[in-house]
């Protein structure tokens, strides 16, 4: 009887061990599967872009403006329009983000006001970009009576700013107190300590944030539909509708014309490569800097 009992217990513990082992293997397997699916999705997107987009790479794409289907054309105006609007958005959004970040890290810190600003900035970071587009449409397009490249840039600036706020604040918090004290001991006023010691010390980190902001807004489409609208002609006038690569892709991808479709794919490849290369540079760069 006693022997039987021990045997049963050993049996049960063996089966328990076996069950735990199976559970672990099952979870491990599913986890591998999840990871592989995610990587497969990225691979599938990149493969689709290269497969469909590479064929359309040509000099014309960069030298000619958009044209009617069947006519020889390129995406030059859309590429330049994207560069202008993204650049202007960063020129507006990055300094604003930098200063808000300085306020949060150096002046507001844990005050009630700073907590609200930080929270609102985080909200804007994840807010649907289409809302920003509608907002700028009501603020800058309806009053002036026409779509404009400038309003597109302002919409993108609102999207770029929270990213810079977040990185600036995080980076400034990493600056050792001793460095600030050294500056103050030398008789420098606080604003000089902040700008020329703290911000300078972490300028690489802040640049990271600015580059991520560039990558984020360069591919934005939804807000531009309501603000800069898109333009099939060559135009550098910020007061008129301005073409952009994402909007051009959107117009062309929904069309039924073979050559437009081809240009949509090639444009998509360009945007994605640009955005991903910025991301890779930033992430590899910061990882090297940290270690």
């Amino acid at each position: 009887m006693k022997a039987n009992n021990t045997l049963m217990r050993a049996d049960r513990s063996a089966s328990l061990l076996w069950r735990r082992h199976i559970c672990d293997k099952l979870a491990t397997g599913l986890s591998w599967l999840g990871m592989l699916i995610v990587v497969f999705m990225l691979g599938s997107i990149l493969w689709t872009l290269f497969k469909n987009g590479l064929a359309g790479m040509s000099v014309h794409l960069f030298t000619m403006s958009m044209a009617a289907p069947g006519q020889p054309g390129g995406l030059a105006n859309a590429i330049v329009g994207s560069l202008i609007q993204t650049g202007l958005a960063i020129l507006i959004g990055a300094p604003a983000g930098l200063m808000t970040g300085i306020y949060l890290a150096e002046y507001g810190t844990t005050s009630r006001m700073a907590r609200i600003v930080r929270f609102v900035s985080d909200m804007l970071l994840s807010a649907p970009s289409i809302l920003i587009g509608l907002f700028i449409y009501m603020m800058l397009v309806v009053p002036f009576g026409h779509f404009s490249g400038l309003s597109g840039a302002v919409a993108l600036a609102i999207l770029a700013m929270p990213i810079v706020v977040r990185t600036t604040e995080d980076m400034l918090r990493l600056v050792p107190v001793a460095m600030r004290e050294a500056g103050i001991a030398l008789g420098a006023p606080k604003w000089r300590v902040i700008l020329f010691i703290c911000v300078r010390a972490v300028r690489a980190g802040i640049m990271t944030g600015v580059l991520l902001a560039v990558a984020r807004v360069a591919g934005e489409t939804a807000p531009l539909l309501f603000t800069s609208l898109g333009n099939s002609e060559w135009s550098l006038d910020l007061g008129r509708p301005m073409a952009s690569l994402p909007v051009a892709i959107y117009q062309y991808a929904g069309s039924a014309y073979q050559d437009w479709m081809q240009q949509a794919w090639t444009g998509a490849l360009l945007v994605t490569l640009g955005v991903l290369i910025i991301n890779i540079v930033v992430r590899v760069g910061t990882r090297g800097g940290r270690s």
Partner: protein, 327 residues
Amino acid sequence: MEIPARQSLPAMKKAPSQQGGQKGDPAFRLLVTATGVGVLVVLGAIIAVMVSGGWKAFSTFGPGFLVSAVWNPVTQHFGAAAPVFGTVISSALALLVAVPLAFGTAFWLTALAPPSAAAVIGMAVQLLAAVPSIIFGMWGFFVVVPVVAHYVQPAARQLLGHVPGLSALVAGAPFGTGLFTAALILAVMITPSITAVMRDVFLSMPTVLRESGYGLGATRWEVMRHVVLPWSRQGVVGGIVLGMGRAMGETMAVTFVIGDSNHIGWSLFAPANTIASLIALEFPESPAGSLKLAALMALGAILMAISFVTLWFSRWLLARGEQAAGR
């Protein structure tokens, strides 16, 4: 004061302290504080513009705007129910797919992967998050839609088509566009951000807790299930809610694959609309000042309310998780 002494040194003439220390400091403080307050003003203006822009629709249709499923530009009757339904259902379905994927990937990255592989795959996940949404839209339309139309929906119909009660879920012509496809694309889009949050909260757990689990003989899954997950529950839920907020506001990817139809139905494969896709699709035909534009703005205000509440909730959860971690 030793200022005269310092001024006697020529090299010190342009010393920082003399370039407006007394005036510079308050001015700089005012400048950065004003920019900080500017952020609040922007949000306030967004809320004000959305609500005032949609006011005409709210006042014309009253509370019925929220429950009416009619969207008829010809008779000028607009209701928010269909796009709100599409937004909620597509995001919920997307979460059903994305949460297991993200959890599996985060588990793999934090517990199973060798460090070098984790760095590479972690980077790949981040890159997937960086892909512009319009690219997801094109990929979805040209790659995922045909797969759904030719394989997924016929298979689902064969499986569930004769089951009473469930057959309605798979009814309809196999277009390939619709709620199900939109949810799939959304899932792929939000998986990286949920993964990133999960990985961060898993990694922020003190190593000693994890090691104690292993020391007691627990398997990796048991450590995850009984040590890591309970410890990081709030952060994980916060990440999931954040992903849901992203999914509800996503525009371009959904616009390509949702099918553009303002009907509320049981079928997962039927064309539908989300708030964001409806705004993007109908906006070109909505002149400034029209009732239709007001209806779109009102939808925008609803989307804003939904996503801000969601984001607020996720921030609150994540902050509470961080607080618990600090203890």
